[in-house]
């Protein structure tokens, strides 16, 4: 296309560009049919509808406390949930909801000892299974690891057969985040107390500041180039942009504890994390474990995940390290052809067929 043609088409392109940006909120995300199984406070447990359940061990998907779990089910044709249902798994999802100021007192103990524990219980009740597979992503993966490593006293071992950890941070002290929040002069508890729950917008801004040019400029420039060249993919841009912009608040106490745990103390490595006076010891993890790391992950980098392997006592451990980013690795367009089938094959080997 010549320069003159570009100039002539500029008004049309500008309208198209504005239209894509302004209608992003109308994009449908997380549309796979599902039913509410259980709710407590802001947490909701969903079960996806399926007439193709071939495996007896249900999957419970757990996402981070940042952003929404819709990333598991981004859009038809590019949905991990849809793929897992097609493969015959019984899929459940725990959604932490939109915590607000009244949830500011929720700490990591509430998420691990109550919300996740009860979600596991309800998943087992609804599915009729005795054990399940936990699939955690980002902070959700760390919460799953903490849940499996928690001393449950007389309740014995957690009813988890398999543990799948996607881009899981265990030690964030070498990350860029640590440079921002690792400084002891930043009184995280004071910030948490002042805010109550940390605004989702602030968390989103901080995340974007990790790669400022890419997030604040390149994304929009690429979209403009796509519009100019006539190959802008509205159907893939909008759901992802909507998901990125949907940021629930982070409960203040949980945020302060997370900063301490991940960026200052790395307590999980040293086995000194306690939730309600119960020790979290990752050596208790003896389930079949699949850990997936992304080569270009700037949030949960590979070196920050690797110590996990030295801590757990599982005999059946597999590590998949693939090129990609923190989210793109699992939600990107290549995942459906490469990573998801590998994950599904791993799960199928460890999930007995439904009788």
């Amino acid at each position: 296309m010549s320069v003159a043609e570009r100039v002539m088409r500029f008004p049309v392109n500008a309208l198209e560009y504005a239209n894509i940006l302004l209608t992003t909120d109308d994009a449908a995300v997380g549309v796979t049919p599902k039913e509410v199984v259980w709710t407590h406070r802001e947490t909701t447990l969903y079960r996806y509808r399926s007439s193709n359940r071939r495996y007896a061990v249900p999957l419970l998907l757990v996402f981070a406390l940042i952003n929404r779990p819709d990333i598991f089910d981004l859009r038809p044709g590019s949905s991990l949930v849809e793929f897992l249902l097609e493969e015959g798994f019984d899929v459940f999802l725990v959604d932490w909801g939109y915590p607000d100021e009244e949830d500011a007192d929720m700490g990591l103990d509430e998420f691990v000892c109550d919300e996740l524990d009860w979600a596991v219980r309800e998943t087992l009740r609804a599915s009729g299974a005795e054990e399940l597979t936990l699939v955690g992503w980002c902070i959700g993966a760390t919460l799953c690891a903490m849940y499996c490593g928690l001393d449950r006293g007389s309740r014995g071992r957690v009813p988890v057969r398999n543990l799948v950890e996607l881009t899981m941070p265990i030690d964030g002290r070498q990350s860029r985040y640590a440079k921002w929040v690792g400084d002891p002069e930043l009184d995280v508890e004071r910030v948490a107390e002042l805010y109550g729950s940390l605004p989702g917008g602030a968390i989103d801004f901080a995340n974007k500041m990790l790669k400022p040019v890419t997030n604040f400029w390149t994304t929009y420039r690429r979209l403009w180039d796509g519009v100019q060249d006539g190959n802008a993919r509205r159907e893939s841009y909008q759901p992802m942009a909507k998901w990125v912009g949907d940021n629930p608040p982070f409960p203040g106490r949980a945020w302060a504890e997370w900063i301490e745990l991940m960026y200052r103390d790395a307590g999980l490595l040293r086995g000194r994390v306690r939730l309600r006076d119960r020790l979290v010891d990752l050596r208790r993890i003896d389930q079949s474990v699949l850990v997936i790391t992304a080569g270009a992950d700037h949030i949960a980098s590979r070196p920050g995940t690797m110590p996990f392997f030295d801590l757990i006592s599982s005999e059946d451990v597999e590590h998949m390290d693939r090129p990609g980013g923190h989210i793109g690795l699992v939600a990107g367009s290549a995942a459906r052809k490469e990573l998801w089938p590998e994950m599904s094959a791993w799960l199928a080997e460890r999930s007995e067929p439904k009788s």
């Binding site: 406070r41 100021e101 921002w180 400084d183 910030v191 002042l194 805010y195 990790l210 040019v213």
Partner: protein, 121 residues
């Protein structure tokens, strides 16, 4: 045209490549900048001050609102917390009831099995 066939870039493509190169250099430079401890310090100070200012503003508005005898945000949060506490208790009671019900059902099943065995023998 001959140049293009030989793989040479058009002026427009050259401009675009230069632009992308500049963008990539800027991205690297900014990533270095935000990776500096001083930037972290600045961000931390800004976060603390913004949080404090937000809190002062909210509290002032809330005070005004409450003096007008209207329920402010603090009242709504307090009520929501009470509701949450009740929900927590309800959830625990519900779990207890469910486990007792399961226990009763299990006992009844075992008793039935025993009776059947006794009847057979």
């Amino acid at each position: 045209m001959a140049d293009r066939r030989n793989g040479a870039q058009s002026p427009e493509e050259q401009v675009r490549a230069l632009f992308e190169e500049a963008e990539s250099s800027a991205a690297k430079a900014f990533e270095e900048l935000v990776g500096k401890p001083s930037f972290g310090r600045l961000l931390a100070l800004s976060a603390e001050n913004t949080a404090a200012l937000t809190r002062i503003a909210f509290d002032a508005v809330d005070l005004l609102w409450r003096n007008l005898r209207l329920a402010g945000r603090a009242d709504i949060v307090r009520l929501s917390r009470q509701l949450h506490r009740n929900e927590d208790k309800l959830e625990r009671v519900l779990q207890e009831v469910e486990s007792l019900r399961e226990e009763v059902a299990r006992d009844a099943r075992e008793a039935r099995d025993r009776e059947r065995e006794e009847a057979r023998s």
